[in-house]
C-alpha cells in the first residue's frame, strides 16, 4: 500500500503529538485526564474556526492576515448593537457578525482582484484599516460581563456533556458544535463542489484554471468572503468564552494561525492543504502552549518552542519540495 507523502507528513505530526503527550504525561500525570482534552479544545476553538477559512485562502494561492481584525469588527459591532437595542439572541449575534465579516472579506477580495498585488500586503493594509475604522467610528470602549447580552455567556459556558471531576464539573465546550459544522461544510465545499475544486485548481495554476473555464476573480471573491464569514463567527465565540468585549484583542495573533496552517502542511504557494492538517497544526501549537508549563517551563518559553517547530517544519517541507523540483529540472529561484 502506498502511503502518499502528504499523508506521511500528517502521520508524523500526529505521532509527534502522541509522543510529546506521553512525555508530558510521564512528567506530570495530571496531564492524562479528560479535562486536558476538553481544555485544549476549548482554548483552541477560536483558532480552529479561523484556520479553516485561512486554509481555503492559502489553497487558492493567497493569504489573509486581516481575519482577526474582521473577527473583532464583526463581533464588536454586533454586540454594541445588541446592547443598545436590548437584543439577546445568539442567532442574531452569529448572524450579524457573520454578515459583517463576510462583507469585510468581500472588500478584501475586491481589492486583491482589482489591484493585482500580493495579498499579504493588501490584507496587512486592510487589517489596520478595518481595526482603525472600528475603533474610530464604532467605538473603542470595553464592555464587561455585566452589560453583555446574557446569551453570550450562556453559550460560552455551555457544555455538550459533562461529568464531575474532583470538585468541579468539566465538560466539552459547546463551541465545538459550530467548529464541527464549519469543518464539515468546508470539507464538503472543498471536495464535493465545483467551486472547491476551482479553489484547488486556481492554487495550482491560474492560467490552467482559466483555460478550463474557472473564473479566478470569482473564486477569490468566494474564498475571502468565506474567511470573513468564519471570522465573524469566531469573533462571537471569542467574546462568549472571554465574557467581555475588548476593542483591542485578537488583532496581532494572526501570524500564529498562519503558522498553524503551515505546520499542518499547507503550502503558501497554494494548490494543496488538508483540513485535518490545519486542525492538527492548531492543536499542536495549543498543546505546546498549554503543556510547557506542565513540564516546568513558564509560558515565556511558548514562542521559542513554537518558533523552533515552525522553522523545522518549514525547512523540511521546503527542502523536500526543492529536491522534487530540481529532479525535474525546475528552477524557481
Amino acid at each position: 500500500m502506498k502511503i502518499k507523502i502528504r499523508d506521511r507528513y500528517r502521520a508524523i505530526l500526529l505521532i509527534i503529538m502522541v509522543f510529546y503527550s506521553l512525555f508530558v504525561g510521564l512528567i506530570n500525570p495530571a496531564f492524562f485526564s479528560i479535562e486536558t482534552v476538553f481544555d485544549l479544545i476549548r482554548t483552541s476553538s477560536t483558532s480552529l474556526m479561523v484556520v479553516i477559512g485561512l486554509l481555503l485562502v492559502m489553497i487558492s494561492g493567497g493569504i489573509d492576515v486581516s481575519f482577526m481584525a474582521v473577527a473583532l469588527f464583526g463581533s464588536y459591532t454586533t454586540i454594541k448593537i445588541m446592547i443598545a437595542a436590548g437584543i439577546d439572541s445568539l442567532a442574531f449575534a452569529f448572524g450579524l457578525s457573520m454578515l459583517i465579516g463576510g462583507f469585510l472579506g468581500l472588500i478584501n477580495a475586491l481589492l486583491i482582484n482589482w489591484l493585482k498585488l500580493p495579498p499579504f500586503i493588501i490584507t496587512l493594509g486592510t487589517q489596520s484599516l478595518f481595526h482603525g475604522i472600528m475603533t474610530t467610528f464604532i467605538g473603542d470602549k470595553s464592555f464587561g460581563a455585566g452589560v453583555l447580552p446574557s446569551c453570550l455567556n450562556k453559550f460560552g459556558q455551555a457544555v455538550l456533556f459533562s461529568f464531575q471531576s474532583d470538585n468541579s464539573r468539566v465538560g466539552l465546550t459547546a463551541s465545538v458544535v459550530p467548529i464541527l459544522i464549519v469543518a464539515a461544510v468546508t470539507w464538503f465545499i472543498l471536495y464535493k463542489t465545483m467551486i472547491g475544486r476551482g479553489i484547488v485548481a486556481l492554487g495550482n495554476s491560474e492560467e490552467a484554471a482559466r483555460r478550463i473555464g474557472f473564473n479566478p476573480s470569482r473564486i477569490r471573491l468566494f474564498v475571502y468572503t468565506y474567511t470573513g464569514l468564519l471570522s465573524g463567527i469566531m469573533g462571537i465565540i471569542y467574546v462568549a468564552q472571554v465574557n467581555a468585549l475588548y476593542p483591542n484583542k485578537l488583532v496581532g495573533d494572526e501570524l500564529m494561525v498562519v503558522a498553524a496552517a503551515v505546520i499542518g502542511g499547507t503550502k503558501i504557494t497554494g494548490g494543496q492543504g488538508k483540513i485535518s492538517g490545519a486542525i492538527l497544526g492548531v492543536l499542536i501549537i495549543y498543546l505546546l502552549n498549554s503543556t510547557l508549563i506542565l513540564i516546568g517551563l513558564s509560558s515565556s518559553w511558548n514562542d521559542l518552542f513554537v518558533g523552533a517547530i515552525l522553522v523545522v517544519s518549514i525547512a523540511v517541507s521546503s527542502y523536500q519540495e526543492r529536491v522534487k523540483n530540481r529532479k525535474n529540472l525546475i528552477f524557481t529561484e
Binding site: L117, T136, L255, I314, S318
Partner: protein
C-alpha cells in the same frame, strides 16, 4: 518628447513622493506649524528617524530581492535585550564603563549577523519562501527574547550608554549621522558596485541570475545578513533612546516599514527601487508620525490612517502604471 516619457515612466513614483512630502510639510506648517517646526520638534524627529529608518532599510533590502523579512522587529528587540543584559552587568564578564559598552555593541553586532545569517541559510539552503521562513524565525527570535525576559523589560543600563542616544555632533544627533552615513553607503553599494548590480539582477529574475552564473545562494545569504545587521543596529539605537529593552516594542513598525517601501518605489516582486526613494519615504512617514502626535490622534486613528494609506498608495501605483502603459503604446 521621448526623453520626457522615459523620465516620466521611471521617476514618476519619485516625483509623486517628493510632491507628497512637500505637501505634508506645507499642510503641517499651515495647521500645526507652531508646534511642528520648532527646533525642539525637528530635533525630536531627527532622534526618532534612525531606529525606524534602519528597519526600513532592512525591509527594503528584503523586498529588493523579491522577498520579505518579517523577523526584523523581533530580531531588533531580542538583540536589544542581549545588549541590555551586557550593559546591566548580567553578561558583562566583569567589564565596566566604556569597555562594557564596547563589549555590548560587539555582542549586538555579532548577534545581528547571526540572526541574519540564520535567515539567509534557512532560505538559501531550503528554498523556503521568505514570507514563511521569516514568519518562523520571527517567532523563534521573539521566543528567545521571551524566554530570557518573560515579557518584562530589561533595564538598569550603565548610564554611559544612553549618552549614545542623546549625543549630538554639530547640532545633529549622533544616531542620525549614523543613519545617514549608512543610507549613503547602502545607496552607493546598490547603485555603483558589482554587488549592487548582481543584487538587482538577482531580485529581478533569480532564475536568469542562476543561469548567468551569479551565486544566488551567496546573494541570498548576504542580503539577509544585511537585514539582520540593520535590524540589530535598530535595536541598539532603540536601547540607547528608550534605555530598556523588551519584547514587542515597535510591533506597529512592521506595517509602517512596508508602507515606506511601497511609497518609496520598491516593488514587492523585487529588482526595482532605490535608496533615495526610501529615504524620502522615511522622512515623509516621520513627518506624518510627528504630526499625528502633535494632533494627539489616538493610536487607533493612526492605525486607520496607515492602513488606508497603504491601500491608497497601492491603488495609486496601479493607476499610474496603467496610465504609463497607455501612454507608452500610443
Amino acid at each position: 518628447m521621448n526623453k520626457i516619457r522615459k523620465l516620466a515612466a521611471g521617476d514618476i513614483n519619485f516625483a509623486i513622493l517628493i510632491a507628497l512630502t512637500l505637501l505634508a510639510i506645507v499642510l503641517s506648517g499651515v495647521f500645526i506649524g507652531d508646534k511642528m517646526f520648532t527646533v525642539a520638534n525637528i530635533q525630536a524627529m531627527a532622534y526618532q528617524i534612525p531606529e525606524f529608518g534602519f528597519l526600513c532599510l532592512a525591509m527594503m533590502l528584503s523586498n529588493l530581492i523579491g522577498g520579505i523579512d518579517l523577523s526584523i522587529i523581533a530580531a531588533a528587540n531580542t538583540i536589544a535585550i542581549f545588549t541590555a543584559n551586557v550593559l546591566n552587568g548580567r553578561w558583562a564578564f566583569g567589564t565596566d564603563g566604556a569597555a562594557r559598552i564596547i563589549l555590548a555593541i560587539c555582542v549586538a553586532l555579532l548577534a545581528s549577523i547571526l540572526f541574519g545569517l540564520f535567515n539567509g541559510l534557512l532560505i538559501s539552503r531550503t528554498s523556503a519562501p521568505s514570507l514563511i521562513a521569516t514568519l518562523g524565525t520571527m517567532t523563534l527570535y521573539r521566543g528567545i527574547g521571551m524566554a530570557l525576559t518573560g515579557g518584562s523589560s530589561v533595564g538598569d543600563i550603565v548610564p554611559g550608554f544612553s549618552y549614545l542616544g542623546k549625543a549630538k555632533l554639530l547640532g545633529i544627533p549622533f544616531i542620525f549621522w549614523i543613519f545617514i552615513i549608512a543610507t549613503g553607503l547602502l545607496g552607493l553599494v546598490l547603485s555603483k558596485t558589482t554587488y549592487g548590480r548582481a543584487l538587482y539582477l538577482y531580485g529581478g529574475n533569480p532564475v536568469a541570475a542562476r543561469f548567468s552564473a551569479i551565486n544566488n545562494e551567496r546573494m541570498c545569504r548576504s542580503v539577509f545578513l544585511l537585514t539582520g545587521l540593520f535590524a540589530g543596529i535598530a535595536g541598539i539605537i532603540i536601547l540607547s533612546r528608550v534605555n530598556s529593552a523588551k519584547v514587542g516594542y515597535g510591533d506597529t513598525y512592521l506595517l509602517q516599514t512596508m508602507i515606506v517601501c511601497v511609497i518609496g518605489g520598491i516593488h514587492p516582486n523585487g529588482g526595482k527601487g532605490t535608496v533615495k526613494g526610501v529615504l524620502v519615504a522615511i522622512i515623509f512617514m516621520q513627518l506624518l508620525s510627528s504630526a499625528f502626535t502633535i494632533m494627539t490622534l489616538s493610536p487607533y486613528t493612526k492605525k486607520l490612517i496607515y492602513g488606508a494609506m497603504l491601500i491608497l498608495v497601492l491603488g495609486m501605483n496601479y493607476f499610474i502604471n496603467k496610465l504609463i502603459q497607455k501612454y507608452k503604446t500610443r
